[in-house]
């Protein structure tokens, strides 16, 4: 390679032949130096021994739409476990012939999420639209109006429950976290210490213990006969937990703000709330999009911890399916399916955040 480039006329503008084309790419990226060549060969070997067997298991020797008997004598994957149990995995114990209702609610949710992506639509009217959508989704899930049979929330489960806990958990945790972060910066000692204590306390315990407390300890303090819905309690625990982490991330963004921005806002006569809302938060929150999204993604996955307080979220319905003797032993297939669902959601979040970051980038 060196020989080649030395022979080149210095006035030429084309790169040396060896660095273009597929061979050039392979050379510069995979085999530049003995160490990299060794690494490349090692990785190739690992791929060679792992990928073909997986492909054979997942696609060649597998069955897709059979009953459980057909799965007994094959070497490959029994994907049939998914279509055969799909409705239970997705909807849990929601009454079988009413499952179109959570399905419709989820479709509305997804449509709303996609519709809200576009920043040009972020107006007051979008908030009203969400209000209407929420009421419709609530009615669909719960029923109780003429034409819709009531369904107890204890029968809710599967994917709708996971989406409910995470979408509303995260959507409420974010503003709460912002308020906590602002409180922690407050000049008023009482507010400041309250926020510090809250944040440190919550961050000092695992989510599981908060969920336990919400389901075991919290009801002890309620008067006789009063119960708070289990989903609501889990939801509150998730919000409280996530908000504390969001608060610390947002605080980092606030500290990264230039003092001059506060001064310019003050000099115009803007009051505290206007300064925060119009000047500081839009910039600080933009800075912390990447760490916020990390927290939101991990909070989304953490909603699966609600299994320990006996809520049938997506993961729990999958587990239950696998405890059916007919389908026992096909857990790999079922968990891969659930992992895919989680992955699609998380990928959507991180993808969207990256786009948002680009759109909000004004210092070109």
């Amino acid at each position: 390679m060196e020989d080649n480039s030395q022979q080149q006329d210095t006035s030429t503008v084309k790169p040396p032949v060896t660095s273009v084309g597929a061979i050039g790419w392979v050379r510069t990226n995979l085999f530049n130096g003995p160490f990299n060549s060794l690494l490349t060969l090692g990785v190739l070997y690992l791929l060679w021994i792992s990928v073909p067997p997986f492909v054979r298991w997942a696609f060649v020797d597998s069955v897709w739409m059979t009953d459980y008997m057909a799965c007994r004598n094959i070497d490959g994957a029994c994907w049939s476990v998914i279509p055969a149990n799909l409705r239970f995995i997705i909807f849990g114990f929601y009454p079988h012939d009413l499952q179109w209702r959570p399905l419709l609610a989820m479709i509305i949710l997804v449509v709303m999420l996609f519709y809200s992506q576009d920043r040009k639509r972020w107006k007051k009217s979008l908030l009203y639209l969400w209000g209407v959508a929420l009421v419709i989704m609530g009615l669909l899930m719960k029923g109780g109006v003429p034409g819709l049979t009531p369904v107890e929330s204890s029968q809710w489960g599967g994917l709708p429950l996971t989406l409910l806990l995470s979408v509303f958990g995260l959507a409420s945790a974010y503003p709460v976290g912002i308020i906590l972060a602002l409180g922690r910066q407050s000049k008023m000692p009482v507010i400041k210490s309250l926020c510090v204590v809250y944040i440190e306390l919550i961050r000092g315990v695992p989510l599981i213990s908060l969920l336990f407390m919400s389901s075991v300890v919290f009801p002890l303090f309620l008067p006789e006969g009063v119960t708070v819905n289990a989903i609501l309690r889990a939801q509150v625990a998730i919000i409280m937990f996530t908000a504390a982490y969001i608060a610390e991330v947002v605080r980092g963004g606030l500290q990264g703000m230039n003092k001059g921005q506060y001064e310019a806002a003050d000099a115009l006569g803007l009051n505290y709330f206007q300064t925060m809302r119009l000047i500081i938060l839009p910039q600080a929150l933009k800075i912390v999009i990447p760490p916020s999204v990390s927290i939101l993604i991990s909070a989304f996955k953490d909603t699966s911890l609600v299994v320990i307080i006996a809520l049938y979220d997506l993961l729990k319905t999958t587990q239950s399916t696998l405890s059916d003797p007919k389908w026992m032993g096909f857990s790999a297939e079922a968990y891969i399916f659930v992992a895919l669902i989680y992955f699609v959601c998380c990928f959507f979040m991180s993808n969207y955040s990256r786009r948002l970051e680009q759109e909000l980038n004004t210092d070109l």
């Binding site: 119009l278 933009k286 210092d363």
Partner: protein
């Protein structure tokens, strides 16, 4: 040392004081940063403050719109005394425009939005009217074609002119400038000074912290010299530059006019 500032001989249209600072002191912790400041500024008067770095020039003008709090003495702006009353502070800040050394434009907003923000949220001006005003002042600082851009896309001189226009949109009675040209590349200083000169010609009351002595000579009614937190002397530009009274002033002028 304050006699000079009080007896300054200037011609202004009205002789009412728009800013009155009496026996004002300020400390940062134990550090006595402003000592016994007494200063009257008349309507339409233009004052240039100079002095060595760290002498308290910025602190003084920042006390006038309460970006800094003074601990002793009295500051009255436009008939309102500066106390801890938040309503008064916000009222005064809306009346007093400020231009910073580092521009401090809002980078997430377009130039136009930078200009309309104050009028819309503080003055409650309808958006259309605020935008008309904004375009008027952008024309005035000769930068109207950049209205839809973001601050990060403009040069330093352009940004500072936008910052001046942003203050003007609030229709202030007084403009404070804290070293408006000292963060600029040399070739951009003039475009900003030109805007300030045209502002002076329109009769704006201005307090300018600056070491641009040419500007001080041609525009100021009075030049003040500060050192160690005190106003050492103040006089008409002519007298100040040609016949400085104090040794400290002479030393400073000899250094800066090199």
């Amino acid at each position: 040392m304050n006699e000079n500032t009080q007896t300054a001989n200037i011609e202004v249209e009205q002789n009412s004081d728009i800013i009155q600072i009496t026996d004002m002191h300020k400390w940062y912790g134990d550090f006595h940063v402003l000592k016994n400041i007494t200063l009257q500024v008349k309507k339409q008067e233009r004052i240039v403050i100079c002095g060595p770095s760290g002498s308290g020039k910025s602190t003084l003008i920042r006390c006038i719109n309460r970006l800094e709090e003074h601990q002793k003495g009295k500051i009255v702006v436009d008939g309102i005394e500066l106390t801890n009353d938040l309503k008064n502070i916000e009222k005064i800040r809306a009346e007093v425009g400020m231009v910073f050394q580092h521009f401090n434009l809002f980078p997430h907003l377009t130039i136009l939005d930078n200009l309309t923000l104050g009028p819309i949220w503080v003055r409650k001006t309808p958006r259309a009217e605020a935008e008309d005003t904004a375009m008027y002042y952008l024309e005035k600082v000769r930068i109207a074609e950049q209205a839809k851009k973001y601050p990060g896309q403009l040069s330093g001189g352009q940004q500072q002119r936008v910052a001046i226009a942003r203050s003007l949109c609030m229709k202030p009675n007084v403009m404070l400038f804290d070293e408006p040209t000292s963060a600029l590349d040399p070739e951009m200083v003039k475009e900003v000074l030109d805007v300030m000169i045209s502002l002076a010609n329109d009769g704006m009351t201005m307090i300018v912290v600056s070491h641009e002595m040419g500007f001080a000579r041609s525009v100021a009614h009075r030049v003040l010299f500060m050192d160690y937190g005190e106003i050492v002397e103040g006089n008409t530009p002519q007298a100040f530059f040609d016949n400085p009274q104090h040794d400290r002033t002479k030393l400073f002028l000899s250094q800066i006019l090199d």
